[in-house]
């Protein structure tokens, strides 16, 4: 099956600022694909190019086989899109807005409609100006998920949602995947990305740093141990056995294994270790490696 999205050397400049600097990416059809990166990495710009809000300055992009930006209307007719921070028309009532937003799609997912609207529990007869921020996000999310389309692009879908709605949303995304739909989402919550996504791409300063499956990411991630010591260990001595202190939470040291894990564990026997835990690598660990952030993630 051809990829749902194909991107080659994609570039976008806003004046002197480069938002995307030659990104190459394929997003397989029928997967939930995550885009991760710090603010300003280019995630939203990439998503907006795919729906024709923004025109690229270089490179090529295709979604569902259609060229962008020339055939962006064909893409939008087959895509449900959730913007990151767009406002809604506040004079409209919720039901009116839903009808307005879904007008133009050839079909709606009726089987999902009732479940989604019940889970979101929106006051559809009330004007949107009376909605809270979370309600507005839920309404916009409904507009993106209800069309019966092969591609859903969601920019920060869990932002502003309470925990029960987040759980319901993740269930919906799993169901969409089981039906063969492609979901492309950007998210800052790495735990959620790890829970729901099949594949993740890391962006920074407009460049693609890495793209792999969740398992592939775990295998690339440096391994960590969480240890407490009876006396403060010498860093040089730890380095000689292939260990480095990557972070600290109180008395717990996060040790990064830089060499052979077996040799490192044998070497630790010579240290005054009070407790030791193996730390299952997570998306947050790779994020910390890629972006140089200090992290001390909890054990799985």
């Amino acid at each position: 099956m051809p990829p749902a999205v194909e991107i080659r050397r994609l570039e976008k400049r806003f004046g002197r600022r480069t938002a995307l600097a030659g990104v190459d990416l394929d997003i397989p059809a029928g997967e939930v694909f995550g885009l991760v990166g710090p603010n300003g990495a280019g995630k939203s710009t990439l998503l907006r190019i795919l729906v024709g809000v923004v025109r690229p300055t270089g490179g090529e992009a295709r979604a569902l086989g259609y060229r962008l930006p020339e055939e962006s209307l064909a893409v939008r007719r087959r895509t449900g899109y959730l913007p990151a921070d767009a406002n809604l028309y506040e004079r409209m009532r919720g039901a009116e807005f839903l009808a307005f937003a879904l007008n133009g799609y050839s079909a709606l997912d009726r089987s999902l409609e009732r479940r989604l609207l019940e889970a979101f529990d929106l006051p559809l007869r009330v004007r949107i100006r009376a909605y809270s921020h979370g309600m507005k996000r839920k309404l916009a999310l409904a507009c993106a998920l209800l069309p019966d389309v092969p591609l859903h692009i969601l920019d920060e879908p869990t932002e502003g949602l309470d925990p029960s709605v987040r759980i319901a949303l993740l269930d919906v995304l799993r169901e969409l995947r089981s039906r063969g739909r492609t979901v492309l989402l950007s998210c800052h919550d790495l735990a959620e990305v790890e829970r729901i996504c099949d594949r993740v791409a890391f962006l920074n300063a407009g460049k693609l740093l890495d793209c792999d499956t969740i398992e592939g990411i775990r295998s690339k991630t440096a391994r960590f141990l969480r240890a407490t010591f009876r006396t403060e260990p010498d860093r040089g001595a730890l380095a000689r056995v292939g260990l480095a202190i990557a972070g600290r939470e109180g008395e717990v040291h996060l040790l990064r294994i830089e060499g052979d894990p077996s040799a490192a564990l044998r070497g630790l026997a010579d240290f005054p270790v009070a407790s030791l835990e193996w730390n299952r690598p997570s998306l947050a660990d790779l994020y910390a490696q890629l972006y140089g952030a200090r992290s001390c993630s909890s054990a799985a």
């Binding site: 729906v51 809000v53 007719r77 913007p83 767009a86 937003a101 799609y105």
Partner: protein, 220 residues
């Protein structure tokens, strides 16, 4: 004649009153209906409707949601243009027709005003206002600040109106295409100023096509 007397609108106001005195109720209707009401309030309405088309959507951050619907940008822009134009034109035509009909009901006026020429006059007024609307509409597709757009358009219109009221510089004003003598001619002759109206249609078309092209290619 001192400068203050030359630039004061006294002469224009005097001529207007003399025209009303000479031409009777028709001139009064023209002055009230078209020259005072439609030109001033109509220009303000044209600016208000047009700035909301794109600039206010950008300002309110609703534009991204709109552009990601399964509709073409051309369709979005055309819908907005037509809706705003109708909002301008329908009240002018409706009030003109009702004014002409009310004349027959109110006995004290003692004159009759034919409905046909009144409707022609309202058609010319509509074209004039839609041209102002189209110019503001084009500005709206370029801008992200609706209030600034509105102030610019209203400022230009007010300046043009002030120029119109001073005889020495009245030829610099675009209100000479929508003034009392123009409408009185339409009422008396029972026909539109064809050359002028064709030009107005051409201006409206050109402005709209420019707006369409800009909107199609603009990043939001």
């Amino acid at each position: 004649m001192p400068l203050w007397a030359k630039i004061a609108p006294l002469q224009a106001v005097r001529e207007l009153l003399e025209t009303i005195e000479d031409a009777g109720f028709s001139a009064y209707l023209v002055a009230q209906q078209f020259f005072k009401a439609a030109n001033s309030l109509g220009t303000a309405a044209a600016a208000l409707f047009a700035t909301g088309a794109v600039a206010r959507e950008v300002e309110n951050r609703t534009i991204e949601f709109l552009l990601t619907r399964p509709w073409s940008r051309r369709r979005i822009l055309a819908s907005k243009f037509v809706a705003g134009a109708l909002a301008l034109v329908v009240p002018i035509v409706a009030s003109s027709a009702s004014a002409a009909l009310l004349v027959r009901v109110i006995p004290d006026i003692g004159e009759s005003v034919p409905v046909g020429p009144i409707l022609l006059a309202s058609a010319h007024c509509s074209l004039f206002l839609v041209a102002i609307y189209a110019a503001t509409f084009l500005g709206s597709t370029l801008s992200s600040d609706a209030n600034r757009m509105a102030f610019v358009v209203l400022g230009v219109s007010t300046l043009s109106f002030a120029l119109y009221m001073v005889n020495e510089v009245t030829h610099y004003s675009f209100y000479r295409y929508s003034d009392v003598p123009t409408y009185l001619r339409i009422l008396r002759e029972g026909r539109l100023p064809v050359g002028l109206d064709v030009a107005l249609v051409g201006v409206i078309g050109a402005l709209y096509l420019a707006a369409d092209r800009i909107f199609a290619r603009r990043d939001f």
